[in-house]
Symmetry: C2
Subunit: 202 residues, 2 copies
Amino acid sequence: MGGVSTTAERDRVPKQDRSRATRQRLLEAAVACLAEHGWAGSTVAVVAERAGVSRGAAQHHFPTREDLFTAAVEYVAEQRSTALRELFPDGPADRRAVVTALVDLYTGPLFRAALHLWVAASDEEQLRSRVTELEARVGRETHRIAVELLGADETRPGVRETVQGLLDMARGLGLANLLTDDTARRRRVVAQWAELLEESLG
Amino acid sequence: MGGVSTTAERDRVPKQDRSRATRQRLLEAAVACLAEHGWAGSTVAVVAERAGVSRGAAQHHFPTREDLFTAAVEYVAEQRSTALRELFPDGPADRRAVVTALVDLYTGPLFRAALHLWVAASDEEQLRSRVTELEARVGRETHRIAVELLGADETRPGVRETVQGLLDMARGLGLANLLTDDTARRRRVVAQWAELLEESLG
C-alpha cells in the first residue's frame, strides 16, 4: 500500500493518514503531469511513478484514469479557493487586489492542467460528462468567492453578469498566457477592468 | 494534382485557379479536422482525404503538418475578420451588436481549432514559435477591428486596455462554450458588458 515509505515510517504514521498522504501526492503529481505533458502524455502509471507510489496503490485510490485526473483538478481547485479566501480573511477588499488574485487563479499550472482536461473532454465522450460536472462545481464556487470578495450585491440587476464577465475575462487572460509570458499586458488590463468594476459596483 | 476535379473541369478552369481551389479545400478541411479530432487526430493524410485531394498534392501545398495547420487557422481567421468587417460596412455601430459579433468569433469551429492548436503548441517546441507568431498577428488584427467598430478612441487613457479586456472576455466565453452550450448565459453577460462599455467609452 504505502509506496515509498519505509517500515519505520509505517509504524509511526497511522494507516489512515498514510493513505491520505498517498492520495494527495497522487493528486498533486497528476495536476503537474497534465500541465506539463497534456492528456495524451498523462497516464496513471506516469503519475504513480512521479508521485513515488506503486501502480497498485494508485489504482486502489483511483480505479480509472478519468477518476484520477478529474479528482486531481478538483482537489487543486479547492486548495486554490481556500488560499484565495485566506488572502482576504476580512471579506470584501480592495477591488484591484481582488481582481488580481482572481485572475491569478487562471494563470498557473492548475489552469494549464484544467485546460488540457477540457480540451481532451471536448473530444472524448467518457471524459466529457465528468469534466462538465466538475467545471460547473468549480465555476460556482469561484463565482461565490468573487461575489463575496468584491462585495458585489447580486440583488441589483446586472451585477451577477458583471461578475461572470469578469471571470470569463480572467479565463481569457489565462489562455493568453499559455504560450507567452503575458504578465505586463495582463497587469494593465486588470488595472483598467478593476476601475470599470469600481464604477459599476460602486 | 487536381484531386477530385474531372478532366473536363480541368480543361475549363485555369491551372492557377485549380491550385488555389485545392489549397482552400485543404485549409477548410484542416480547420474542421482540428476542431473535431484535436491535434493528435489531425494529420496531413487525414485532411487530404477529407478534402478529396491526393496526399501528394497536399504535400505540394504544405510540406509539413505544422505548415498546413498554422496556415489553416490563419486562413479561417482572415475569412472571419473579413466577414466581421462586412457585417458593419459603415464602420462604428451599435455597441451591443459589435460586442455580440466579436464574441461570436470565439464560439465557432475556428476557436475550437485554434484552441487545439494552442494547447498542442504549449507542449511541442516546433509548433510553439509558429503558433505564437500566428496568434500575435491574428490578435493584432482582431484588436484593430474591435477598436474601429466600437468607435473607441485609443488616445484616451485606459481605452486600449478596456478593448483588450473585452477580447480576453470573448476568449474566456469561447472556452466556457467548449463543453456545453453556454449561449443563454453568454447573451446576458454580453448585454451587461456592452452597457458597461457604453458608459466607459462614451
